[in-house]
Symmetry: C2
């Protein structure tokens, strides 16, 4: 039975199959015990469409301009500028994050945030594919996750998106337990209501942004194991791929977005490939590159 039916037969698919064979065959010199088979995946652009705008940012945008039933505060010029050019606001996350998050998530508990995310992902329609975002998981990557699960890998999503943005639908989209999402998070306030009941609410300040070096820190702090399989697609994944590449026998993969018909073509895109180009890194560190247009028979 073909375990990766949406992957074209070729060198890349063979490399994946050979690697998994080599670490799961007890007679192989590269055999790895099941409890040491750790796989880490980036989310946006690796498992899930991230264009024309990252899903969580689109979620926040929709909430600000479409969903929120409360009237806008009189922020005047700030709110108008935000509406005109929303995407650019997140270019400078440090300075704009607080204002936007405060507008979108004031007095919201983490559980309410998760419910809002889940409701949005099931219903919001993607402008190019005309289907709900929940359907925009890459089919070949779902097959890969399933294949790794069956091969007794422990799989984590390590993402710059918020843990609580992905958590409520990770089981449905990826068959990945909601505790296996290592993402970003906001600070929280512990407040006491008039009945003395404690309540946590989100603060509009980042607690942790799980990107770049912080992906490695999250893996070490929360899993404390060496990944032997990792997949990413952008600048923010370089350190995680290099970290997985430390293992004596490892597989590191990079999704290259080369398909402007079925998905998007966006490399080199300075908005994603900041500084070092990941394709150069792929060659330097011998990562396996998925050419989406040619390696995937189906995308969704």
């Amino acid at each position: 039975m073909d375990v990766l039916p949406s992957w074209r037969d070729g060198a890349l698919k063979r490399a994946i199959l050979n690697f998994v064979d080599s670490v799961t065959d007890p007679n192989s010199a590269c055999y790895v015990e099941p409890d040491k088979r750790l796989a880490t995946f980036d989310h946006d652009g690796t498992l899930f469409v991230e264009k024309p705008l990252n899903a969580q940012i689109t979620f926040v945008k929709d909430r600000l301009f479409n969903d929120d039933p409360e009237p806008r505060p009189a922020t005047g010029n700030f709110f108008e500028r935000l509406q005109t050019n929303f995407a650019n606001w997140f270019d400078d996350i440090e300075s704009d994050f607080k204002n936007i998050t405060e507008l979108a998530f004031r007095n919201v508990t983490p559980e309410q945030f998760r419910q809002a995310s889940n409701s949005w992902i099931q219903t919001a329609v993607h402008p190019k594919f005309n289907r709900p975002y929940i359907d925009l998981v890459y089919k070949p990557m779902r097959e890969l996750l399933s294949f790794l699960h069956k091969s007794q890998f422990d799989i984590y999503i390590v993402t710059g998106s918020s843990t609580d943005f992905i958590r409520p639908w990770s089981e449905q989209a990826y068959v990945i337990d909601n505790h296996h999402i290592l993402g970003s998070s906001l600070k929280t306030d512990l407040e006491e209501d008039e009945n003395g009941r404690l309540e946590l609410v989100l603060e509009p300040l980042p607690f942790y942004f799980a990107n770049g070096e912080n992906k490695v820190r999250s893996i070490e702090r929360l899993i404390a194991e060496q990944p032997i399989f990792a997949f990413g697609n952008s600048r923010g994944d370089i350190e995680m791929l290099r970290w997985a590449g430390r293992a004596e026998n490892s597989f590191c993969g990079l999704v290259h977005h080369t398909d402007d018909i079925r998905e998007y073509q966006y490399s080199p895109d300075p908005a994603i490939y900041l500084g070092d180009c990941t394709l150069d890194q792929a060659e330097k560190y011998q990562w396996q590159v998925v050419d989406m247009k040619n390696d995937w028979l189906e995308v969704f």
Copy 2:
């Protein structure tokens, strides 16, 4: 079969058994599905001896004065003051933490820290009980953890001690998976050696101190479920117990150290019971109090 043989038959033991019965019996009005049975335990003083000095602080002290093979840097007066009155240095964690951690763990990776902790806990001998620290788990609490496991509870240790201090021996001491420790942690530096290989090393700065309100934040951020069973022993556990007490049907317990012969008697101790006394809180919030001297037939 008695599932809690080291607990004296009485009101407290009945309260535990009745609570677990009520949430696991499908015919009970208080029935809770297995995947919602979350239990959270403090560590030091609740599962494990914390006198005469907290275990992790003793570990650091031993490392500074006994174990470290490298010569001390010429810190002169600082190091002498440290040696004279070590315990008091940690009274002001903010200001002393950096100096002490830098001395004890310079150029140490998280994995080396875990190995050092595991080696210490197996061999260092407690001054009162004259046995290795690994043996100083309270036997009644081990029985309680085992009983909750069998009753399909998901159990986490939520502790001000470092996650990586407890992680390497949590399976041995508590039959708790090393990913079920939510503790404190240090910052880390991601460095590149001359071969371009990445290495994470500890920085002598706290990243997160999981005490008090931060215990609730850790539970929400990392588990994202409501605990229905919680146990603590000190000021740093009040918020966690109140958080568990939010659940419609919950059990909140407090270990009261009343046994100066078999363990220690230290309440009210201003070093532990800062500000509000947890016994007052116990009455106010209807927490169950373990009177160690009377409720435990054996301690270790």
